[in-house]
Assembly symmetry: C2
Homo-oligomer: 345 residues x 2
């Protein structure tokens, strides 16, 4: 198994791989810095994946590459921005097989291609554990960015996609299930993937390992002036809603019966907690959570015709977050994924 | 010793620490992405420091914080760009003392203040080893960026600062010498710092641990249209000159007698190789290596009156890099710092 060549060779390879003819890239990979013809209003964000924290060592590197870019594009989507450029910093152990790096770069470039993102810079360092630190740049529409802080009492609360699928996918990965770039699922030693469950397992693992950033939805919400606030769901609905409420200075009530809990959660054996808990406190769904003022609900009709979105509650003037079910209310705690929790499960 | 609080607390602390009133920062730290009023021509670069590779675990975290930003500003300087904004991604073991994080952030913010850089975003992840991955953004002057590729045969080759001091500093660190943020030097166990050497040791360690990006020099070279090409010295004069020559399609001859070898190297005991070798192949000097067309040498007079710069050779139409000394020529190999070398020293 070939391991990494000298750094100079790798850097020259990156220059070839990441060469671009984009007219907004004046200087691309291969100089001390990239030079871009930037939009007047530029969104920029950064997010890292670390082996052992954000992906297991057995994860198909192609999927790690895709996800390392896509989690950043999800942040841009939550601002309503259109992705333009990305920079990639990789930390790799010296004994990393070349095939791992190749797979990662293939995945990273595939995600960049899908969203017309030009890769304009990067860095490479030896490290004990693998990590990928990505920065993404995008164009904010003339109507302005979607902020976390824009919600008002009376705005309706919406979410895209289903909830809890990525958390269910994580429970499968922790039990030893794997999914490769082609969707093939392998069971842990001593188990087999039953034919009737195969597609469902593949889908749940896909949600965790290969999330899709809601770039078109975010843009439509921003350009149409439809959403008053937005955040992407990275650490769970409850925690991210707390963040949105804190920034906006509002409370919120979430209707238990309206939550788009992923349908697979009701029947999948071996889940670490019940479907409602996974949906509220499980991370990495990467849908958008956003608020819509009542006067814009007509425009939401067009959005709902194009995207899987659901109204799940309403913002209010309290300082509380509650879960409403059958006329009863329970507090919705600020709980969810925490990188520094001691008992991470 | 207190270790890190929950991630949410850390993120909120970052929001307070990195709050900015800069008018070009429309949305700062605390949303999904920052939103900037960007210059039309934007330089962007990224560079990471990894514990055990780029700094030892005993290094004063204040200095790690400063350096993690300053190595990026050095890349901007090599483009002639003025630093504007930075994003910081930190990987930290769960058992990291709060004091380490505080020291790091103090250093990072001090370097940002010195160069009027607004910190606009970041990410935080648990990790086995500490790393800091930084992205910096800057304004490219109307005259255009300094490129690696702009040198022509006949251009003179210049360098700023002295050579080899950081490599000498590294040899001291590898022997157990330490220097804190206040310049205090401590010797390894069983040795003492002699009073007559103290200032010199502090200076050599400073070159390695707290390099200063040549931002003003880079800007003057670009805005004055003085340099035809530039690169910052991160991996040693020889390797970085090879990069500049490869990008420009030129050769170069370097005059042995003109090299600004750091004066301390001649007398410092215990260096791993001779002063010339350290100057040519030692990394992290972070001066600028640049070329000046003959017609701009008058303007270089003004630069030389303000900065410590030295003419060290000339670009030519060969495909070779040579070291000239007393009428004799020897090849200058493409050798220097390599993250992935197996026998890194």
């Amino acid at each position: 198994m070939r391991t990494l060549p000298p750094e100079n060779d790798l850097l020259r390879r990156f220059e070839r791989l990441f060469a671009t003819r984009r007219r907004d890239v004046k200087v691309g990979v291969g100089d001390d810095a990239a030079v871009l013809a930037a939009p007047a209003s530029l969104a920029v964000c950064t997010d890292a994946l670390v082996e052992g924290e954000d992906f297991t060592s057995g994860t198909d590197p192609y999927l790690v590459g895709r996800k390392s870019l896509n989690v950043n594009l999800s942040d841009l989507a939550a601002m309503g921005a259109t992705p333009l450029h990305a920079l990639l910093t990789l930390g790799l152990p010296r004994e990393t097989p070349v095939a791992w790096l190749d797979g990662f770069l293939d995945g990273f470039r595939a995600a960049a291609r899908e969203h017309a993102v030009a890769i304009v810079g990067g860095d490479l360092s030896a490290a004990v554990e693998r990590f990928a630190s990505v920065t993404a740049l995008g164009r904010v529409p003339a109507e302005g960015p979607l902020r976390r802080s824009g919600a008002n009492p009376g705005d309706e609360l919406w979410v895209s996609g289903t909830l809890g699928a990525a958390a269910a996918g994580l429970s499968l990965v922790l039990r030893g299930y794997r999914r490769d770039r082609d969707g093939k699922v392998t069971a842990p030693r001593g188990r087999r993937v039953s034919p009737e469950r195969r597609d469902e397992l593949a889908r749940l693992l896909r949600h965790l390992l290969d999330p899709r950033p809601m770039v078109d939805l975010g843009r439509m919400l921003a350009e149409g002036g439809i959403a008053s606030a937005a955040i992407d769901l990275s650490d769970g609905l409850a925690r991210d809603l707390h963040r949105l409420c804190r920034a906006s200075g509002t409370g919120a009530s979430v209707e238990r019966e309206s939550l788009p809990i992923d349908s697979a959660l009701a029947t999948l054996p071996g889940l670490p907690s019940d479907p409602l808990d996974l949906s509220l406190f499980g991370g990495e769904d990467y849908g958008l959570l956003f608020t819509v003022p009542p006067r814009r609900l007509d425009a939401m009709g067009k959005v709902a015709a194009r995207f899987a979105v659901r109204r799940i509650g309403r913002m209010d003037a309290t300082a509380k977050l509650v879960l409403a079910s059958g006329g009863r209310f329970s507090p919705l705690p600020d709980r969810g994924f925490d990188h520094f929790a001691r008992d991470a499960g």
